[in-house]
């Protein structure tokens, strides 16, 4: 399908994390962007003209790269607002783990689709997911047309290295929309032998490695007690990061941890809403930037957030940095928008989805600038980060296909069916 967008403002990502706005047209041919410019070429072309299946008047609204949700557990939608305002351990041990144990792979498929619907309403075009039943999750993305990079959550209780290798092969081959990177859940849930096995496998696959890292102070202290090293030091010593990788959360970092992330060109994914709600702490985002470390942004799962909304995460990323550093000028809107788009794409090994440019994948969104929160148009980038909301998302396109437009989904499932199934699942689990 070929689509022409005209009368558009187009957000162009520069080489130094700066953005500019171009007024003109953007064309999509099949899964990719084939043209960005003032549209003169349309009027000049004759015999080799592109035939458009659809021409969309953007009416001066904004086309921009879709957001990358760089850390999440999508299928935890079933526990959204089920257990909140609880201490972390009680939440995990009494509410999350026992209920997760009751999920089937079919449950996870439909719960992931519910999450995908919410991503689309927030202009998110791909996610970096970690959960049980990886193939159900990848199938949900393939079937709805969403893009997912799956990260294995290997630990002592679920899965093993053989299964992980199989998932790696199956999901990387399943669809152009699905890929797989190796990871462990976290140091505190994974024994040394498993970690050593994963390091070997990652080196063989020449793959980066990911994990939850330094989300809580307790986790770091316990790791130091067990190994005499921080989680970053330990996993680095075990050979995790020969091909890079990164960590989710990364709140309680030592200077040496920062240095190791810098040395291996790793990425930190910050999850500010979850870190507030679970009282985990505030990520030192400014310090990561000062070290030149790539930063991406994730929502974390809907049980700990409870929504999948990159606008809220972007505001929190800059707002929490400002209050932590006592400096209203640090971590600018431009830096944050870069994290939420290109920074995430780098983390997820999606170099073709990082920005709007000819030849890149058509993972893009349309933001409505004609809502009161976007007026007057003093500065569109600052408006997106400081004032933007799901309400501004008019359209979400993944891989050249419009999956969400003016509040309606085109994902092969009705809203009613997905809501009904999600409610049936949680009612069955509650028993």
């Amino acid at each position: 399908m070929n689509i022409r967008f005209y009368h558009a403002k187009i957000l162009v990502t520069g080489e130094n994390k700066e953005f500019s706005i171009l007024n003109g047209e953007l064309w999509v041919e099949n899964d990719s962007i084939s043209y960005i410019g003032d549209g003169k070429e349309l009027r000049n072309q004759k015999e080799d003209a592109v035939i458009f299946d659809r021409e969309i008047d953007v009416e001066g609204n904004l086309l921009m790269p879709g957001f990358k949700d760089a850390h999440t557990h999508t299928a935890m939608t079933f526990l959204r607002s089920y257990a909140d305002d609880l201490p972390l351990q009680e939440w995990l041990e009494k509410q999350v783990f026992p209920n997760e144990a009751k999920l089937t792979k079919e449950d996870v498929y439909y719960l992931a689709i519910l999450g995908i619907m919410e991503y689309l309403t927030s202009g998110i075009t791909s996610n970096f997911d970690m959960y049980n039943f990886p193939r159900s999750i990848a199938k949900a993305s393939k079937d709805t047309g969403f893009r997912t990079v799956f990260c294995s959550g290997l630990n002592n209780f679920v899965s093993n290295l053989e299964e992980l290798r199989e998932d790696y092969n199956v999901i990387n081959a399943m669809s152009p929309l699905t890929s797989f990177l190796p990871g462990i859940h976290a140091e505190y849930t994974t024994n040394q032998k498993l970690m050593e096995g994963l390091a070997k496998l990652a080196q063989e696959l020449k793959a980066p490695v990911w994990m939850h890292n330094a989300e809580t102070q307790k986790e770091v202290e316990e790791c130091k007690a067990r190994y005499g090293m921080t989680p970053t030091e330990l996993t680095e010593a075990l050979g995790f990061y020969e091909y890079g990788g990164g960590g989710y959360h990364c709140i309680w970092f030592t200077e040496h941890d920062f240095e190791l992330f810098q040395k291996h060109d790793m990425t930190v994914v910050t999850n500010p809403a979850s870190n507030l709600k679970l009282a985990s702490g505030i990520c030192p985002v400014k310090k990561f930037l000062d070290y030149g470390i790539n930063v991406a942004i994730g929502t974390d799962g809907p049980a700990s957030n409870n929504c999948l909304d990159m606008f809220r995460e972007m505001f929190l990323t800059t707002g929490l940095a400002k209050v932590k550093e006592e400096d209203a000028s640090c971590v600018s809107a431009e830096e944050v928008l870069y994290m939420a788009t290109a920074g995430g794409a780098k983390a997820m090994q999606l170099p073709d989805c990082d920005r709007l440019a000819v030849g890149k994948k058509a993972d893009l969104i349309m933001l409505d600038l004609k809502k009161p929160n976007m007026q007057p148009e003093n500065n569109i980038v600052k408006n997106i980060v400081y004032a933007g909301s799901k309400q501004n998302v008019k359209m979400t396109m993944v891989n050249g296909k419009i999956l969400y437009e003016n509040g309606a989904f085109s994902i092969g499932f009705s809203e009613e069916e997905i809501y009904r199934r999600a409610n049936e699942i949680i009612n069955r689990i509650k028993g």
Copy 2:
């Protein structure tokens, strides 16, 4: 106009900050709620039947009290995303003050309407406003049908006690939608003589008094250096709080400040997004609750936030409390929803707008529960606070009149006109 809402979930506010959901009908007659129940009365009534002008099928969605934005500077919409990522003093002195000086009373009227439009998209039915040209602001509310409690921002540079008294009389008499309470901008902008005059006036009017209080650490230290007292101690000693009142922000409080707020049954209005963006600090909300002090929530103005979105503020109110107290169980969703509705109404002296009940003003909103972020329906109150968004606001009614419904405004002005005027104003000011 009489309106019948049926097939509704109705959020009922209990006596102890708890909420329950009632399935049924809600009727509005003129400006008030005339009935809440299962609708049997409709079938039984005969001769004295209410004639409805409109009957709305709520389709299982939620009716709830509108949000009260308990501290804002609405007309600062013109500076939204104009000057961000700057140190506080530079922002105020180089960007805010010089540009504000160029505003006319007509500018403020239209800029306030732009803000009112955004309130409506966020389910906000009344605001507690402070800005220059009070009568322009009150007129904007009266003309659009929005409810505004105006608080004077008396200081050394703008206005005086005579003008304040006049504004008090004019705005309180202007419309059932407008009222006026006395206040000063802040201790650091107002000399002792003016403060003494205001205290006398408030005692004469038997009115509560408000001000920006302890927003920054610097402000408190400078006040202590000037007077040997905190801003709360000073204004209390000057006689501000004989009839109650409160403070905006209230971040840097001493034990004695808490005690004084408790003693005078005062309210703190927390402004979490602004406090992050300007790096002011984190309000000790849990401690205010522990003291039994009423807490309300405000967005602050769109230059320092940059949006007028009570969903973001509600999430921040609980999230920041949790991370500050290192306790994921503190300041629950229920407590926050109470602050954003009944807590605000108490602060603003709007006892008839605090909850849905027969005889109360029809300041109410409809939230769409059929969006992915509201599914499954595990707990509606927690969903509103942790996952809700402007996207869920289907309808906003103020004083019995629907001002916003399914994305369209009924306020007597077109969106295009208000956006055009806002852009013209900022372009003229930029020069």
